[in-house]
Symmetry: C2
């Protein structure tokens, strides 16, 4: 259902993660050696830089100042980094992308301060250019992310969570910053205001699609590829879409409900849960929902002027989803292929 | 040496903490009940609101928009609140001003997010008026506060700390935000640029004076007045000015060094340390240093145009120091009076 394009990724070579990384290091440089050491560690272990890519491509429909766009992209990545550093305290995660997290390496205290430092540096960068509308976008986004996460914490282990509440959670967790990245890029260019809403919605729906696949992968990938234990979300009390779907299935729902309620997450039960999610169609349902969001995002993108920026954003979206799709197919468990075909 | 003015405080009645508190609540209002509950708890347990007072009085030398000034004062208080909420995670403090801290009530996770939410709200407020120079001041201040605290953590329990390093630590901890408060107030008014540096320096030196007294009080007040255990700084590994002074005194230094190094902080030793700090002149020395900073602050203030704003800032400074001085005199230990006379 998601077609893997063998050329995906080719177009992305125009984006240089090194430019973002080196500017991040430059921006964060401090006269304190320990701070610099922490910063280097985070930058060297950074991810796919999806959000800076979204910023830069979203700015490319119309004219813009490339230095400003780069720095807005850097600021958005800093905000993402700050939220990850703080998330690892919240989730008590000692691993991030298969390596030790900042709190794994330096403890909670340093993590709190490092996150604050990254936030302040991001705002400082945006403020340097007097970009008031971009600042308004990112500050509001951070408020949404924080309140969303506080709400999520009060919903942890809650088996009555609806799909709507799950999507609300997904908005705060991922979709709102994807949307803000696209909006910030557009605002850094001369894009007409009526088009900004569409690029923002493209980011929003891509964010939903991306997070749903991330949640699916938590079950059906293997821990090596994932960089964290399989079923980790469930163990942490984070009830995601496949589980919400399966809990409402008559045949398997009651057992699943009881097992999660008792938090009986031994290896055998986690494997059984995995099998249930595949067999009852929960994985397929979630992958479908993700795909629907992707299409909704692309619909918004297609309203925007055709050309290189639009093509590359589409490539990026498909590349991200294909990357997840590949992980799903190659995941440790047999039957994944069957579940998603 | 610090004259207690019986009228101190009278002039301060023009400042209404309720205006700040209610605006804080308005600014932070969320559609999430739990967030609102946390916010109300923090606001109801807020302190003396020194920083918003500094903002408002610093703006009063020249013309300004009272709504903007109020909101800048609110933003500065939000930043202070955010840093306290995060500090309580860092210090693992379950108490704040004699009541449960946010992490005492809701845990580290909620505290991280609440602090981030407060920071974002502060930036949003300043950005709403497009106050680029004030934003630059506060973002830079937060960076200094964070790097200062990371540095402080690596210096914890370090008995070789010099007075200069202590003052450096004090700058990041308190003085830089006092300075930023005065600067922000001035920038929100039409104060000529050459005068802004003086009001900023007034805040800076007042901050040093204030923090030194706070550190002194940690030893010679009683825990009821302080709202935290006596000698708490020392137990946490925070080596402050009286201890730095006493460590270098031949008669008492070696015993103090050994005791702190072994972290033998039973009740008897804490009382003995208290007595040593009084007897060897360490408390007196620190109070004197604090007073010197206060005078240095006032020297800067006296360069500014005379009138109500200047008088009230002077009153505020003296009131704050007198308040500390009273606590010192009334503290649980006999001999405090003697130590500071």
């Amino acid at each position: 259902m998601i077609i893997i394009n063998p050329d995906a990724g080719v177009m992305l070579f125009q984006f240089s993660p090194e430019i973002i990384s080196s500017r991040i290091k430059e921006t964060l440089a401090s006269d304190n050696d320990e701070v610099n050491q922490i910063i280097n560690y985070i930058v060297e272990n950074s991810g796919k830089m999806i959000r800076p890519r979204l910023v830069m491509l979203s700015s490319a429909f119309y004219s813009s100042d490339s230095i400003i766009v780069r720095d807005v992209a850097v600021a958005i990545e800093l905000i993402h980094m700050a939220s990850l550093v703080h998330d690892d305290i919240i989730d008590r995660s000692l691993l991030r992308r298969g390596k030790q997290s900042v709190n794994g390496m330096w403890g909670n205290q340093v993590s709190v301060l490092t996150g604050d430092y990254l936030f302040a540096a991001a705002f400082q960068l945006i403020n340097g250019y007097g970009l008031q509308d971009i600042m308004a976008t990112v500050t509001e986004t951070i408020r949404i992310m924080c309140t969303g996460e506080i709400k999520q914490m009060s919903m942890a282990h809650n088996l009555d969570i609806t799909e709507e509440e799950y999507l609300d959670k997904t908005f705060g967790k991922t979709a709102c910053l994807f949307a803000a990245s696209c909006r910030a890029g557009a605002l850094a260019s001369s894009m007409p205001v009526q088009e900004v809403g569409h690029i923002e919605d493209f980011g929003l729906y891509l964010g939903y699609a991306y997070q749903i696949m991330d949640d699916v992968l938590d079950f059906v990938s293997d821990s090596l590829r994932l960089g964290k234990p399989v079923g980790n979300d469930l163990v942490q009390g984070n009830i995601t879409l496949p589980v919400i779907y399966a809990l409402r299935k008559p045949g398997v729902g009651p057992w699943l409900h009881k097992t999660i309620e008792k938090r009986s997450f031994d290896e055998a039960n986690l494997q059984k849960i995995n099998k249930i999610l595949i067999d009852c169609g929960a994985i397929k349902y979630a992958v479908n929902r993700s795909h629907q969001f992707l299409l909704q995002g692309l619909d918004n993108l297609h309203i925007l002027p055709p050309g290189s920026a639009r093509n590359q954003l589409e490539e990026l979206a498909r590349f991200l989803m294909d990357d997840y799709f590949n992980k799903l197919k190659l995941g440790g468990e047999k039957g994944n292929q069957e579940a998603i075909d």
